[in-house]
Each structure stands twice: as C-alpha cells, then as structure tokens.
C-alpha cells in the first residue's frame, strides 16, 4: 500500500521525536487558540468538540466494532439531562460529571445485553427505539426533565480571578475533557480491544473460533459508546446550557450517523472531522439560503460520499493516489491499490492503512 513507510529512509515527520514535537505543538496551539479567537469562533469550536466526542463514541460501536447504532444521540441527551438535573439540585459538579458518565453507561449496558444477542440490522432497530421512545418519555417525565420546555443550567462560568471570559473557559473545559476522551479511546482501539473489535466486525464466526466472544465485545463496545455519549452530554450542557426533548430527536440521531461516515468510519481523526461537519454544514447552508438548508445538506452529503466513499479522512490518500496515477499514466499502478479504486469503497483495503499510519 505505502511501501515508503517501512523503508529505512522514512521522512522526517515520521521519526519519533518529530511526532512528539508535533503533539507538543498541537497542545500549545490548542492552549493558545481560545485566548486569541473571537467569541463566536470559540463557541463554534466548543460545539464541534461536543459533537466530535459524540461521534467518537458512535465510532467505537459502529466504526470499530461494526454494530450499527442509531441511538447514540439518546446517550448525549441522557447525559445532558442528568447534568442539568444535578446542577439544578446543586450537587457537586464532579459528582454530576461522574453520574453523567455512569448512568448512560449502565443504560447502554442494559440495552446492549439484550441487543447484542441479535445480529446486524436488528441491533440497528433496537437502537432506533432509544431516540424514538426517549423523546416522548422526556416529555412525560416532566418532574425531572421540565417537559417539552426543557431545562437550562449554567455551571461552566469562568471562575473569579482566572481572568478568562466565559467562552474561553468553556472551550478549555471541552478541550481538556474531550482531549482526554480522545486519547483514551485512541489507546483503546489501537490495542487488544481494538483488534478484537475489528475481528468481530469482520466475521463473528472467525472471532469466536479465536476465542473472542462476539457477544462480550459487542456489549463492551456499546457500553463504551454510551459512556462517551454521556460525556458528550455533559459537555453539551457546559456549552449550550439548555436541553429539551428535541435534543435527542431521531433526526439528530441519523445526522450523527451521517457525520460519522462523512468524517470517516473507524478513524480517530475522522471523528473530529465528523463533529466539524455536524456543526459547520448547517451553519454554512443557513448562510447560503435558509429555505434550502435541507436540500443543500442532502446534496452535500451525497457529493462527499460519491467522491470519497471512505469519508473526509480519506481525502489525503485519494489525492496522493490521484497524483501517483497521473504520474504513472495508465501504466502499472501499484497493484494493491487497484482493487480499492475500482470498488471505490472504504473497506478492508483501506482501513488497515489508517491504523498503520498511526503506528509508524
């Protein structure tokens, strides 16, 4: 696939020290950015962070473990409601955060224990029920949720003496919590569990013949996804400070799935891109013409997937491939890439490559 990667003369940016320098640079940039940007840009970035975390959770269960989940937004909503309720009752914020992680994880575990018994599409159907039933349920339980009016809560104001504006403080909160979640998830999917997920996704029978219980790993993936969804709900409350049953509507849930595939399934960077897509595209289409929003969003989604079936994360690879092909003319292109170009899909041929780029 990319023979240059393993050869001794690897480029500068793949040496270990350069990678560490890159990470350091990223951290410094992220630390400075909230201080220098406008309030609007900070808020947009914070919202991207919220949805990037939600998409990341979805990626764990759907991208890595291959179980279609159409209910991820429910866990975001659940986390947001728990946070709002806890803040209203004036509980300790750390306790609220822990509850906003744990309760969705437990709910996710219970759902998964039943749903993971089923194969393929049945899981999608059971998870579809979460937002569909969740919305009327949130309206019904108005003692806890404030009914259709929803509830608002402020808890992420900048502390006295920090000298920060509220939007800067919120963005720091999102960056730190989101960053930790991304780092932990990256380690998870790069290690033993990630490989087990990949086998369960590829072929459950092979997995069980290797001693990897598909059931247990599906439940695990779903539980982790729910937990991350709960975290994103906590961040949602920090940034948007308001939640209503509409937060977890079915429409939002399938948009989240679309954002994940557009960003790039089974990819950490893809989750970030997916979050950016989820937040930026509606803003962009609203800017063009509010009455055309849905039309443009649909068209954009189709165009992106038509050009890049592997999602936005496959753009650099598609570009190099295009360049290599134009250089080589119609002659013998590197053989391993040809099948993936002809089928035009982001399946087996492409996924290992992203993994390897990360390891190198």
């Amino acid at each position: 696939m990319a023979p240059g990667m393993t050869s001794p003369a690897s480029p500068v940016w793949q040496r270990p020290w350069a990678r560490w320098a890159g990470w350091l640079l990223l951290v410094v940039v992220l630390a400075v950015v909230p201080l220098v940007m406008t309030e609007f840009a900070n808020e947009t970035l914070a919202r991207i962070g919220v949805y990037a975390v939600a998409v990341l959770g979805l990626n764990v269960v759907m991208g890595y473990a291959g179980q279609v989940s159409l209910g991820q937004i429910f866990f975001l909503g659940l986390g947001a409601y728990i946070t709002a309720y806890g803040v209203q009752e004036e509980w300790n914020i750390v306790l609220v955060f822990v509850l906003a992680c744990l309760i969705p994880a437990v709910v996710g575990l219970l759902v998964a224990l039943a749903a993971a018994r089923l194969g393929g599409l049945a899981i999608a159907m059971v998870t579809i029920a979460l937002p569909i039933v969740g919305v009327p349920l949130a309206k019904r339980l108005s003692d806890f949720t404030g009914g259709s009016q929803g509830m608002s809560a402020r808890f992420a104001d900048a502390p006295e003496g920090s000298g920060l504006f509220d939007d800067q403080w919120v963005l720091y909160v999102v960056l730190i919590i989101g960053g930790i979640v991304f780092l932990l998830t990256r380690n998870l999917v790069r290690g033993k569990y990630g490989r087990a997920f990949a086998i369960v996704k590829g072929n459950e029978n092979v997995a069980s013949s290797m001693g990897i219980s598909p059931y247990r790993y599906k439940v695990l993936a779903f539980t982790i996804a729910s937990l991350i969804g709960g975290v994103s709900g906590f961040l949602y409350m920090a940034v948007i400070q308001y939640t209503s049953p509409e937060t977890m509507s079915f429409g939002h849930s399938i948009q989240l799935v679309a954002a994940m595939v557009i960003g790039g399934a089974a990819s950490i960077v893809g989750s970030l891109l997916g979050g950016a897509y989820y937040v930026l595209v509606p803003q962009l289409t609203n800017l063009v013409d509010p009455s055309l929003t849905a039309l443009l969003q649909g068209a954009l989604l189709l165009v992106v997937l038509f050009v890049l079936p592997g999602g936005l994360v496959s753009l650099p690879r598609a570009l190099t491939r295009g360049r290599r092909r134009s250089r080589a003319g119609r002659g013998p292109v590197a053989p391993p890439t040809t099948p993936s170009t002809t089928t035009g899909s982001g399946t087996a041929a492409e996924e290992p490559e992203t993994e390897r780029q990360g390891h190198a």
Partner: protein
C-alpha cells in the same frame, strides 16, 4: 365493543400502510442487502406529484397511476446512478447515502412546495358504514383492501412470472445469477422501481389522513422498520402481518392503557420488538441465516 372493532379496523388500515412501506424496504433489502431510509421520502415525493397533478385538474385516480409509474422510473434511476456505486462497498456508507437521499428529497419537497400541510384528496368517501351495529369508516376498509390487492399482485409477480424468478435469483446470489446470464444490474433497477411504486401506493392512501407534508412518512418509516424486524427480513408475509399487529396494538394500547396514551404509543412496537427478538432473534416468521466460514 363497537369502539373496539372500530379501533381494530383503523389499526388494520394504518398497519396496511406501514406494511406496504415495510414490504418496499424488504424488496430493496433482499435485492441489495441494505436498508433504504429514503423509502418514505421517495413515497412522499410521489404523493406530491399526485397532488400537483390533481391541482392541474388531472383526475385523482389517473394522477395516482401516473405517480406510480414515475416512482418506478425514479426508483430505477436512483439505483442505477446513485446506489450502484455503493452497493459493493461498506454497507454503512450505503445506508448513510440513503439518509442523504432522504434529506435531499425532504429538502426538495419543502423548497418547492413549502413545509405547510397540504390537503390531499381522498380516494374513498369519508363516510362510515354500519355493520352489525358497528360503524366502520370506508376509508379504512378501502386502504386495507387496496394494499392487500397490491401485495397479492406482487406475490404473483414473484412466484408466477419469469421476471419474478430472475429477481429472486438475484436476491439470493447476485454472482451466480450473473454467471447464468441474468442482467443483474437491470434486475436490481426493477427491484428498486417496484419498491418505489409500492411506496407511492402507500403514500397516496395515507396522505388524505395525515395531510401532505415533506416529513409525512418519517414516523411511518420507523413503524415500517419495526415491522420489518418483527416479521423477519426474509418473510414478506410475516412483515405484513407484523405491520398489522403493530397498527392494531398501538391503537388499542393508546386507548385502553392509560399510562401509554397517545404520546407514548410509539413505544408499543419497540417493546414488542424487544420481547420478540429476545425470544426469537430471527423475527416472528424469518428463517435463521446460516453463514459458512
């Protein structure tokens, strides 16, 4: 008692609409192995075409027939020029493409015909008939009958004709079908076209009741998916029966179980799914699929 029968008949008619949509989903799923989330959206588009034609003084029945024909063509075109590219790739991507198509069609209808509710003329008179002291709406009976007839025709097509045999062959194993000389691509187009046409019938029947909006069938799509899973993906008859069960049960539960009421009646099919799938993961009428490693 009268109320009970009325609820059952009304449930049967909404169940028929879910059933038609569910059958369209099964048709596509059997042929291409993916779930078409745009099935409802395509049907709404057909209903808008019908509505537009009747506004230009085309008789209703003719307008419906034209929209069914156009839907067939549209379904085939979508398969050929949009879905074909994703059919062999990652199934998740293909599913998201149908979500994109749904957004696009909804946006298109909303942009062209606004998001306001439009009155759609009814094919059946809005009267009720008394039968053994129970009043039943003609529309409910008519809807059920039309959809049952459509399904019998479809079944006949699949079992009795050469085209049906070819379609089934492609559904079971596209590669072997291609080896034996079947034009797989064209047959897939026919499959998508038939599904879209069936959706158009369902939309024309349900539109007077729901009034026409771009998101008219979003809820129905969810019920249809529930019926698909409950009935089992491999069994057309099972899917329709499941849709009827869902339609009737949710009507009854909304009225007779006070905790559920009208706002939570949407939960009924899913609770049903949950229970059924735990006991029978392949659905009520489906067959277990066996995979060779």
């Amino acid at each position: 008692m009268g109320k009970f029968v009325q609820l059952v008949v009304d449930g049967l008619s909404t169940g028929s609409v879910y059933g038609a949509l569910a059958l369209a989903i099964v048709l596509v799923n059997q042929a291409t192995g993916l779930i078409n989330f745009a099935q409802g959206g395509m049907a709404v588009l057909a209903a808008y075409v019908t509505w537009w034609l009747t506004n230009h003084s085309v008789p209703l029945i003719l307008a419906i027939l034209i929209s069914i024909a156009l839907s067939f063509v549209f379904g085939a075109v979508v398969e050929r020029w949009l879905m074909r590219r994703f059919e062999r790739g990652d199934p998740d991507t293909a599913v998201v493409v149908t979500i994109g198509l749904l957004t696009l069609i909804t946006g298109f209808c909303g942009w062209l015909w606004t998001y306001n509710n439009q009155q759609f003329p009814s094919l059946f008179p809005l009267r009720t008939v008394s039968f053994l002291g129970v009043s039943i709406s003609i529309r409910s009976i008519g809807t059920t009958v039309v959809i049952v007839v459509a399904m019998i025709l479809l079944q006949a097509l699949f079992v009795r004709t050469k085209l049906g045999l070819a379609l089934r062959a492609v559904a079971i194993n596209p590669q072997s079908a291609a080896f034996s000389g079947l034009p797989v691509g064209r047959l897939l187009m026919v499959g998508w076209g038939l599904a879209a046409a069936l959706g158009a019938v369902a939309a024309a029947l349900v539109a007077p009741q729901l009034t026409l909006t771009p998101g008219m069938l979003d809820n129905a799509l969810v019920y249809a998916l529930a019926a698909v899973i409950l009935g089992g993906l491999t069994s057309p008859v099972g899917v329709v029966v499941a849709a009827w069960i869902i339609g009737i049960l949710e009507n009854l539960a909304a009225v007779y179980v006070s905790f559920i009421g009208f706002d939570l009646k949407v939960a009924v099919p899913f609770i049903l799914i949950f229970v059924v799938l735990i006991v029978r993961p392949q659905g009520l009428f489906g067959r277990k699929s066996v995979v060779r490693v």
